[in-house]
Symmetry: C2
Subunit: 205 residues, 2 copies
Amino acid sequence: MAPMYASNEGDEPTAGSARERVLSTAARLFYAHGVRATGIDRIIAEAGVAKMSFYRHFPSKSGLVQAFLDRRHAQWMAWFEAALQRRVAQAGVPRLSMLADVLGEWFAQADFRGCAFINLVAEDGEADGPERALAFAHKLELQAFVAGFARSAGVPDPDRAAALAMVVIEGAIVRTQMTGDAAMAGLAARLLDGIAIGLRDGRAS
Amino acid sequence: MAPMYASNEGDEPTAGSARERVLSTAARLFYAHGVRATGIDRIIAEAGVAKMSFYRHFPSKSGLVQAFLDRRHAQWMAWFEAALQRRVAQAGVPRLSMLADVLGEWFAQADFRGCAFINLVAEDGEADGPERALAFAHKLELQAFVAGFARSAGVPDPDRAAALAMVVIEGAIVRTQMTGDAAMAGLAARLLDGIAIGLRDGRAS
DNA sequence: ATCTTGACAGACAGATCTGTCTACATCAAG
DNA sequence: CTTGATGTAGACAGATCTGTCTGTCAAGAT
Protein backbone atom coordinates (compact mmCIF):
# COMPACT_ATOMS: atom_id res chain seq x y z
CA MET A 1 0.00 0.00 0.00
CA ALA A 2 0.97 3.63 -0.11
CA PRO A 3 3.77 4.37 2.31
CA MET A 4 3.37 7.23 4.68
CA TYR A 5 5.90 9.98 4.50
CA ALA A 6 4.58 12.53 6.89
CA SER A 7 4.18 11.63 10.51
CA ASN A 8 1.26 13.06 12.36
CA GLU A 9 2.56 15.45 15.00
CA GLY A 10 2.85 12.79 17.61
CA ASP A 11 -0.50 11.38 16.77
CA GLU A 12 -1.03 7.71 16.04
CA PRO A 13 0.78 6.46 13.01
CA THR A 14 -1.20 7.58 10.00
CA ALA A 15 -3.04 4.53 8.81
CA GLY A 16 -4.80 3.87 5.56
CA SER A 17 -5.14 5.85 2.38
CA ALA A 18 -5.30 9.62 2.30
CA ARG A 19 -9.04 9.48 1.78
CA GLU A 20 -9.53 7.24 4.76
CA ARG A 21 -7.37 9.42 7.00
CA VAL A 22 -9.27 12.51 5.95
CA LEU A 23 -12.63 10.89 6.59
CA SER A 24 -11.79 9.50 10.01
CA THR A 25 -10.13 12.73 11.12
CA ALA A 26 -13.10 14.74 9.87
CA ALA A 27 -15.49 12.41 11.65
CA ARG A 28 -13.70 12.99 14.95
CA LEU A 29 -13.48 16.76 14.56
CA PHE A 30 -16.95 17.29 13.13
CA TYR A 31 -18.49 15.38 16.00
CA ALA A 32 -16.36 16.94 18.72
CA HIS A 33 -16.50 20.57 17.62
CA GLY A 34 -19.29 20.82 15.08
CA VAL A 35 -19.16 21.05 11.31
CA ARG A 36 -19.01 24.79 10.97
CA ALA A 37 -16.31 25.18 13.58
CA THR A 38 -14.05 22.67 11.87
CA GLY A 39 -12.06 24.05 8.94
CA ILE A 40 -10.55 22.13 6.06
CA ASP A 41 -7.09 23.31 7.02
CA ARG A 42 -7.33 21.71 10.43
CA ILE A 43 -8.65 18.47 9.02
CA ILE A 44 -5.87 18.07 6.49
CA ALA A 45 -3.25 19.11 9.04
CA GLU A 46 -4.38 16.52 11.58
CA ALA A 47 -4.85 13.89 8.90
CA GLY A 48 -1.35 14.56 7.58
CA VAL A 49 -2.61 15.08 4.07
CA ALA A 50 -2.06 17.67 1.38
CA LYS A 51 -4.87 19.95 0.44
CA MET A 52 -4.99 18.69 -3.12
CA SER A 53 -5.19 15.12 -1.87
CA PHE A 54 -8.33 16.13 -0.03
CA TYR A 55 -9.90 17.82 -3.02
CA ARG A 56 -9.05 14.86 -5.23
CA HIS A 57 -11.17 12.60 -3.04
CA PHE A 58 -13.97 14.97 -2.06
CA PRO A 59 -15.66 17.56 -4.23
CA SER A 60 -16.04 20.08 -1.43
CA LYS A 61 -16.38 20.44 2.29
CA SER A 62 -20.09 19.75 1.92
CA GLY A 63 -19.23 16.52 0.14
CA LEU A 64 -17.02 15.56 3.03
CA VAL A 65 -19.78 16.33 5.49
CA GLN A 66 -22.16 14.11 3.57
CA ALA A 67 -19.62 11.30 3.50
CA PHE A 68 -19.19 11.75 7.24
CA LEU A 69 -22.93 11.55 7.84
CA ASP A 70 -23.29 8.50 5.61
CA ARG A 71 -20.60 6.64 7.47
CA ARG A 72 -21.78 7.82 10.87
CA HIS A 73 -25.29 6.61 10.12
CA ALA A 74 -24.11 3.18 8.97
CA GLN A 75 -21.70 2.68 11.85
CA TRP A 76 -23.97 3.99 14.57
CA MET A 77 -26.95 1.94 13.46
CA ALA A 78 -24.82 -1.18 13.16
CA TRP A 79 -23.42 -0.64 16.63
CA PHE A 80 -26.83 0.11 18.12
CA GLU A 81 -28.55 -2.92 16.62
CA ALA A 82 -25.72 -5.23 17.61
CA ALA A 83 -25.57 -3.93 21.18
CA LEU A 84 -29.33 -4.29 21.50
CA GLN A 85 -29.24 -7.79 20.11
CA ARG A 86 -26.60 -8.67 22.70
CA ARG A 87 -28.92 -7.52 25.50
CA VAL A 88 -31.86 -9.42 24.10
CA ALA A 89 -29.81 -12.60 23.80
CA GLN A 90 -28.56 -12.19 27.35
CA ALA A 91 -32.00 -11.61 28.86
CA GLY A 92 -33.78 -14.15 26.68
CA VAL A 93 -36.68 -11.81 25.92
CA PRO A 94 -36.80 -8.38 24.32
CA ARG A 95 -38.07 -5.48 26.37
CA LEU A 96 -38.59 -1.88 25.30
CA SER A 97 -36.42 -0.45 28.06
CA MET A 98 -33.40 -2.27 26.64
CA LEU A 99 -33.21 0.57 24.13
CA ALA A 100 -32.34 2.81 27.04
CA ASP A 101 -29.77 0.39 28.39
CA VAL A 102 -27.92 0.48 25.09
CA LEU A 103 -28.15 4.25 24.98
CA GLY A 104 -26.58 4.23 28.43
CA GLU A 105 -23.49 2.55 27.02
CA TRP A 106 -23.22 5.29 24.45
CA PHE A 107 -23.71 8.08 26.99
CA ALA A 108 -20.90 6.68 29.11
CA GLN A 109 -18.33 7.16 26.39
CA ALA A 110 -15.82 9.88 27.19
CA ASP A 111 -16.24 11.72 23.92
CA PHE A 112 -20.05 11.65 23.92
CA ARG A 113 -21.39 14.92 22.63
CA GLY A 114 -24.98 14.15 21.70
CA CYS A 115 -26.34 12.96 18.39
CA ALA A 116 -24.32 14.11 15.37
CA PHE A 117 -27.50 14.48 13.33
CA ILE A 118 -29.34 16.54 15.88
CA ASN A 119 -26.27 18.72 16.30
CA LEU A 120 -26.01 19.19 12.57
CA VAL A 121 -29.60 20.31 12.22
CA ALA A 122 -29.21 22.55 15.24
CA GLU A 123 -26.25 24.40 13.76
CA ASP A 124 -27.45 24.25 10.19
CA GLY A 125 -29.42 27.44 10.23
CA GLU A 126 -32.13 26.63 7.72
CA ALA A 127 -30.41 25.76 4.43
CA ASP A 128 -32.24 22.61 3.46
CA GLY A 129 -29.31 21.03 1.71
CA PRO A 130 -28.39 17.37 1.40
CA GLU A 131 -26.84 17.27 4.88
CA ARG A 132 -30.16 18.05 6.50
CA ALA A 133 -31.88 15.38 4.44
CA LEU A 134 -29.38 12.79 5.63
CA ALA A 135 -30.09 13.75 9.23
CA PHE A 136 -33.82 13.35 8.73
CA ALA A 137 -33.32 10.04 6.96
CA HIS A 138 -31.24 8.78 9.86
CA LYS A 139 -34.03 9.50 12.32
CA LEU A 140 -36.61 7.91 10.09
CA GLU A 141 -34.59 4.73 9.87
CA LEU A 142 -34.02 4.68 13.60
CA GLN A 143 -37.73 5.06 14.23
CA ALA A 144 -38.50 2.21 11.82
CA PHE A 145 -36.00 0.02 13.63
CA VAL A 146 -37.51 0.89 17.01
CA ALA A 147 -40.96 0.03 15.68
CA GLY A 148 -39.69 -3.37 14.62
CA PHE A 149 -38.13 -3.90 17.99
CA ALA A 150 -41.34 -2.90 19.76
CA ARG A 151 -43.19 -5.42 17.62
CA SER A 152 -40.70 -8.13 18.54
CA ALA A 153 -41.21 -7.20 22.19
CA GLY A 154 -44.94 -7.81 21.84
CA VAL A 155 -45.94 -4.22 22.46
CA PRO A 156 -49.38 -3.43 21.09
CA ASP A 157 -49.43 -0.76 18.37
CA PRO A 158 -45.68 -0.84 17.77
CA ASP A 159 -45.76 2.18 15.44
CA ARG A 160 -47.24 4.35 18.11
CA ALA A 161 -44.86 2.85 20.64
CA ALA A 162 -41.97 3.81 18.37
CA ALA A 163 -43.23 7.37 17.98
CA LEU A 164 -43.43 7.68 21.76
CA ALA A 165 -40.10 5.94 22.26
CA MET A 166 -38.39 8.32 19.86
CA VAL A 167 -39.43 11.25 22.04
CA VAL A 168 -37.84 9.51 25.01
CA ILE A 169 -34.72 8.54 23.09
CA GLU A 170 -34.05 12.03 21.74
CA GLY A 171 -34.85 13.47 25.13
CA ALA A 172 -32.37 11.23 26.88
CA ILE A 173 -29.68 12.08 24.34
CA VAL A 174 -30.17 15.80 24.67
CA ARG A 175 -30.52 15.73 28.45
CA THR A 176 -27.25 13.84 28.74
CA GLN A 177 -25.61 16.35 26.44
CA MET A 178 -27.00 19.32 28.37
CA THR A 179 -26.38 18.07 31.90
CA GLY A 180 -23.53 15.59 31.63
CA ASP A 181 -25.55 13.48 34.03
CA ALA A 182 -25.10 9.79 33.29
CA ALA A 183 -28.40 8.92 34.96
CA MET A 184 -30.53 9.84 31.95
CA ALA A 185 -30.50 6.29 30.59
CA GLY A 186 -32.18 5.10 33.77
CA LEU A 187 -34.91 7.70 33.44
CA ALA A 188 -35.39 6.75 29.81
CA ALA A 189 -35.71 3.07 30.76
CA ARG A 190 -38.42 3.96 33.23
CA LEU A 191 -40.28 5.97 30.58
CA LEU A 192 -40.00 3.22 27.98
CA ASP A 193 -41.42 0.70 30.43
CA GLY A 194 -44.24 3.14 31.03
CA ILE A 195 -44.97 3.26 27.31
CA ALA A 196 -45.22 -0.53 27.11
CA ILE A 197 -47.43 -0.70 30.21
CA GLY A 198 -49.65 2.10 29.01
CA LEU A 199 -50.19 0.52 25.61
CA ARG A 200 -50.87 -2.87 27.13
CA ASP A 201 -53.46 -1.36 29.46
CA GLY A 202 -55.04 0.35 26.50
CA ARG A 203 -54.47 3.67 28.20
CA ALA A 204 -53.11 5.16 25.00
CA SER A 205 -54.97 5.77 21.75
CA MET B 1 -43.86 32.97 22.42
CA ALA B 2 -45.58 34.76 19.61
CA PRO B 3 -45.75 38.16 21.24
CA MET B 4 -42.09 37.99 22.04
CA TYR B 5 -40.69 38.93 18.68
CA ALA B 6 -43.78 40.47 17.24
CA SER B 7 -41.91 43.75 17.69
CA ASN B 8 -39.71 44.03 14.62
CA GLU B 9 -41.16 41.59 12.14
CA GLY B 10 -41.50 44.11 9.39
CA ASP B 11 -40.53 47.08 11.44
CA GLU B 12 -38.26 49.75 10.11
CA PRO B 13 -34.86 50.35 11.61
CA THR B 14 -36.15 53.46 13.30
CA ALA B 15 -37.87 51.58 16.10
CA GLY B 16 -36.22 51.88 19.47
CA SER B 17 -32.67 52.74 20.40
CA ALA B 18 -29.72 51.40 18.46
CA ARG B 19 -28.97 48.91 21.21
CA GLU B 20 -32.52 47.64 21.21
CA ARG B 21 -32.60 47.30 17.45
CA VAL B 22 -29.35 45.37 17.48
CA LEU B 23 -30.51 43.04 20.21
CA SER B 24 -33.89 42.23 18.69
CA THR B 25 -32.40 41.74 15.23
CA ALA B 26 -29.67 39.52 16.65
CA ALA B 27 -32.24 37.51 18.56
CA ARG B 28 -34.18 36.82 15.40
CA LEU B 29 -31.13 35.91 13.32
CA PHE B 30 -29.34 33.92 16.00
CA TYR B 31 -32.40 31.80 16.57
CA ALA B 32 -33.28 31.35 12.91
CA HIS B 33 -29.81 30.62 11.52
CA GLY B 34 -27.60 29.85 14.50
CA VAL B 35 -25.02 31.98 16.25
CA ARG B 36 -22.01 31.01 14.22
CA ALA B 37 -23.77 31.43 10.91
CA THR B 38 -24.86 34.96 11.78
CA GLY B 39 -22.22 37.62 11.23
CA ILE B 40 -22.01 41.02 12.84
CA ASP B 41 -22.22 42.69 9.45
CA ARG B 42 -25.58 41.16 8.72
CA ILE B 43 -26.93 42.05 12.14
CA ILE B 44 -25.99 45.71 11.88
CA ALA B 45 -27.21 45.89 8.29
CA GLU B 46 -30.65 44.51 9.16
CA ALA B 47 -30.82 46.56 12.31
CA GLY B 48 -29.95 49.70 10.35
CA VAL B 49 -27.14 50.56 12.70
CA ALA B 50 -23.51 51.60 12.26
CA LYS B 51 -20.81 49.21 13.31
CA MET B 52 -19.47 51.57 15.92
CA SER B 53 -22.93 51.92 17.42
CA PHE B 54 -22.92 48.18 17.91
CA TYR B 55 -19.49 48.11 19.51
CA ARG B 56 -20.43 51.01 21.75
CA HIS B 57 -23.24 48.95 23.29
CA PHE B 58 -21.68 45.49 23.25
CA PRO B 59 -18.09 44.55 24.01
CA SER B 60 -17.95 41.81 21.39
CA LYS B 61 -20.03 39.34 19.48
CA SER B 62 -19.80 37.00 22.45
CA GLY B 63 -21.20 39.75 24.65
CA LEU B 64 -24.10 40.14 22.26
CA VAL B 65 -24.72 36.40 22.32
CA GLN B 66 -24.83 36.47 26.10
CA ALA B 67 -27.24 39.37 26.08
CA PHE B 68 -29.38 37.46 23.60
CA LEU B 69 -29.39 34.36 25.82
CA ASP B 70 -30.20 36.40 28.92
CA ARG B 71 -33.16 38.02 27.26
CA ARG B 72 -34.32 34.83 25.60
CA HIS B 73 -34.26 33.04 28.94
CA ALA B 74 -36.25 35.72 30.69
CA GLN B 75 -38.81 36.11 27.95
CA TRP B 76 -39.27 32.42 27.26
CA MET B 77 -39.69 31.53 30.91
CA ALA B 78 -42.14 34.35 31.44
CA TRP B 79 -44.15 33.30 28.42
CA PHE B 80 -44.09 29.64 29.42
CA GLU B 81 -45.17 30.24 32.99
CA ALA B 82 -47.94 32.60 31.94
CA ALA B 83 -49.27 30.27 29.27
CA LEU B 84 -49.25 27.39 31.72
CA GLN B 85 -51.01 29.46 34.33
CA ARG B 86 -53.69 30.28 31.80
CA ARG B 87 -54.30 26.58 31.19
CA VAL B 88 -54.45 25.81 34.87
CA ALA B 89 -56.92 28.61 35.49
CA GLN B 90 -59.08 27.42 32.62
CA ALA B 91 -59.15 23.80 33.72
CA GLY B 92 -59.40 24.53 37.40
CA VAL B 93 -56.76 21.99 38.37
CA PRO B 94 -53.12 21.60 37.35
CA ARG B 95 -52.09 18.49 35.49
CA LEU B 96 -48.64 17.45 34.35
CA SER B 97 -49.63 17.04 30.72
CA MET B 98 -50.50 20.73 30.55
CA LEU B 99 -46.78 21.30 30.14
CA ALA B 100 -47.07 19.55 26.80
CA ASP B 101 -50.13 21.56 25.80
CA VAL B 102 -48.18 24.76 26.27
CA LEU B 103 -45.22 23.37 24.35
CA GLY B 104 -47.67 22.60 21.57
CA GLU B 105 -48.47 26.31 21.24
CA TRP B 106 -44.78 26.98 20.86
CA PHE B 107 -44.23 24.23 18.30
CA ALA B 108 -47.05 25.60 16.16
CA GLN B 109 -45.29 28.89 15.59
CA ALA B 110 -44.09 29.36 12.03
CA ASP B 111 -40.54 30.28 12.99
CA PHE B 112 -40.09 27.48 15.51
CA ARG B 113 -36.60 26.05 15.22
CA GLY B 114 -36.10 24.16 18.46
CA CYS B 115 -34.67 25.42 21.72
CA ALA B 116 -32.14 28.21 21.35
CA PHE B 117 -30.13 26.85 24.26
CA ILE B 118 -29.97 23.30 22.96
CA ASN B 119 -29.02 24.64 19.54
CA LEU B 120 -26.30 26.76 21.04
CA VAL B 121 -24.73 23.87 22.92
CA ALA B 122 -25.06 21.70 19.83
CA GLU B 123 -23.12 24.13 17.67
CA ASP B 124 -20.76 25.30 20.37
CA GLY B 125 -18.08 22.69 19.81
CA GLU B 126 -16.73 22.34 23.30
CA ALA B 127 -15.49 25.75 24.39
CA ASP B 128 -16.98 26.01 27.86
CA GLY B 129 -17.45 29.74 27.77
CA PRO B 130 -20.12 31.87 29.41
CA GLU B 131 -22.65 31.13 26.66
CA ARG B 132 -22.65 27.45 27.49
CA ALA B 133 -23.10 28.23 31.18
CA LEU B 134 -26.16 30.33 30.41
CA ALA B 135 -27.66 27.44 28.46
CA PHE B 136 -27.13 25.06 31.35
CA ALA B 137 -28.54 27.57 33.81
CA HIS B 138 -31.65 27.94 31.67
CA LYS B 139 -32.31 24.21 31.76
CA LEU B 140 -31.73 24.06 35.49
CA GLU B 141 -34.24 26.82 36.10
CA LEU B 142 -36.77 25.18 33.82
CA GLN B 143 -36.38 21.90 35.67
CA ALA B 144 -36.87 23.66 39.01
CA PHE B 145 -40.02 25.27 37.70
CA VAL B 146 -41.35 21.96 36.43
CA ALA B 147 -40.68 20.40 39.83
CA GLY B 148 -42.71 23.12 41.47
CA PHE B 149 -45.50 22.60 39.00
CA ALA B 150 -45.46 18.84 39.60
CA ARG B 151 -45.71 19.52 43.31
CA SER B 152 -48.70 21.81 42.74
CA ALA B 153 -50.27 19.06 40.64
CA GLY B 154 -50.01 16.68 43.55
CA VAL B 155 -47.56 14.33 41.88
CA PRO B 156 -45.62 12.24 44.39
CA ASP B 157 -41.85 12.79 44.32
CA PRO B 158 -42.05 15.97 42.26
CA ASP B 159 -38.27 16.17 41.85
CA ARG B 160 -38.15 12.81 40.18
CA ALA B 161 -41.23 13.70 38.18
CA ALA B 162 -39.43 16.82 36.96
CA ALA B 163 -36.33 14.86 35.97
CA LEU B 164 -38.51 12.49 33.96
CA ALA B 165 -40.59 15.31 32.54
CA MET B 166 -37.47 17.12 31.34
CA VAL B 167 -36.55 14.11 29.23
CA VAL B 168 -39.99 14.23 27.65
CA ILE B 169 -39.89 18.00 27.18
CA GLU B 170 -36.49 18.05 25.48
CA GLY B 171 -37.48 15.04 23.44
CA ALA B 172 -40.64 16.70 22.19
CA ILE B 173 -38.73 19.86 21.29
CA VAL B 174 -36.07 18.01 19.34
CA ARG B 175 -38.51 15.66 17.66
CA THR B 176 -40.56 18.60 16.46
CA GLN B 177 -37.42 20.27 15.18
CA MET B 178 -36.23 17.12 13.41
CA THR B 179 -39.54 16.03 11.89
CA GLY B 180 -41.60 19.18 11.57
CA ASP B 181 -44.48 17.05 12.81
CA ALA B 182 -46.84 19.06 14.98
CA ALA B 183 -48.11 15.94 16.74
CA MET B 184 -45.19 15.72 19.17
CA ALA B 185 -46.98 17.74 21.82
CA GLY B 186 -49.70 15.11 21.93
CA LEU B 187 -47.17 12.35 22.39
CA ALA B 188 -45.49 14.33 25.12
CA ALA B 189 -48.81 14.85 26.90
CA ARG B 190 -49.39 11.12 26.87
CA LEU B 191 -45.91 10.50 28.30
CA LEU B 192 -46.34 13.12 31.02
CA ASP B 193 -49.62 11.56 32.08
CA GLY B 194 -47.79 8.24 32.22
CA ILE B 195 -45.22 9.74 34.56
CA ALA B 196 -47.90 10.97 36.95
CA ILE B 197 -49.72 7.65 36.85
CA GLY B 198 -46.55 5.66 37.33
CA LEU B 199 -45.47 7.72 40.33
CA ARG B 200 -48.93 7.54 41.89
CA ASP B 201 -48.95 3.77 41.49
CA GLY B 202 -45.54 3.63 43.06
CA ARG B 203 -44.23 1.96 39.94
CA ALA B 204 -41.23 4.24 39.88
CA SER B 205 -38.82 4.01 42.80
C1' DA C 1 13.77 3.53 -18.75
C1' DT C 2 9.94 6.18 -19.04
C1' DC C 3 5.14 7.15 -17.95
C1' DT C 4 1.35 7.40 -14.93
C1' DT C 5 -0.73 7.73 -10.53
C1' DG C 6 -1.17 9.21 -6.02
C1' DA C 7 0.57 11.93 -2.61
C1' DC C 8 2.90 15.92 -0.13
C1' DA C 9 4.13 20.91 0.43
C1' DG C 10 2.90 25.33 0.21
C1' DA C 11 1.71 29.62 -2.25
C1' DC C 12 -2.25 32.03 -3.73
C1' DA C 13 -6.93 34.26 -4.74
C1' DG C 14 -11.21 35.66 -3.19
C1' DA C 15 -14.49 35.87 0.24
C1' DT C 16 -15.92 36.70 4.90
C1' DC C 17 -15.53 37.68 9.71
C1' DT C 18 -14.35 40.42 13.90
C1' DG C 19 -12.96 44.50 15.68
C1' DT C 20 -10.83 49.41 15.20
C1' DC C 21 -10.55 53.71 13.21
C1' DT C 22 -11.71 58.31 11.07
C1' DA C 23 -15.06 61.66 9.63
C1' DC C 24 -19.35 63.73 9.98
C1' DA C 25 -24.28 64.65 11.75
C1' DT C 26 -27.73 65.50 15.38
C1' DC C 27 -29.37 67.04 19.65
C1' DA C 28 -29.66 68.22 24.53
C1' DA C 29 -27.69 70.50 28.54
C1' DG C 30 -24.72 73.59 30.86
C1' DC D 1 -22.30 78.32 22.05
C1' DT D 2 -19.76 74.80 23.28
C1' DT D 3 -19.38 70.21 24.86
C1' DG D 4 -20.56 65.53 25.22
C1' DA D 5 -23.40 61.74 24.06
C1' DT D 6 -25.27 59.28 20.44
C1' DG D 7 -25.73 58.12 15.94
C1' DT D 8 -24.42 56.99 10.62
C1' DA D 9 -21.18 55.80 6.95
C1' DG D 10 -17.53 53.41 5.49
C1' DA D 11 -12.52 52.38 5.19
C1' DC D 12 -9.25 49.34 7.14
C1' DA D 13 -6.32 45.58 9.43
C1' DG D 14 -5.74 41.00 10.61
C1' DA D 15 -7.39 36.58 10.81
C1' DT D 16 -9.56 32.63 8.78
C1' DC D 17 -11.96 29.91 5.44
C1' DT D 18 -12.75 27.51 0.93
C1' DG D 19 -10.97 26.18 -3.14
C1' DT D 20 -7.19 26.42 -6.97
C1' DC D 21 -2.69 26.20 -8.55
C1' DT D 22 2.28 24.87 -9.23
C1' DG D 23 6.13 21.86 -8.06
C1' DT D 24 8.24 17.91 -6.22
C1' DC D 25 8.60 13.12 -4.99
C1' DA D 26 8.06 7.97 -4.76
C1' DA D 27 6.63 3.78 -6.62
C1' DG D 28 4.32 0.75 -9.72
C1' DA D 29 3.24 -0.19 -14.70
C1' DT D 30 4.57 -0.50 -19.35
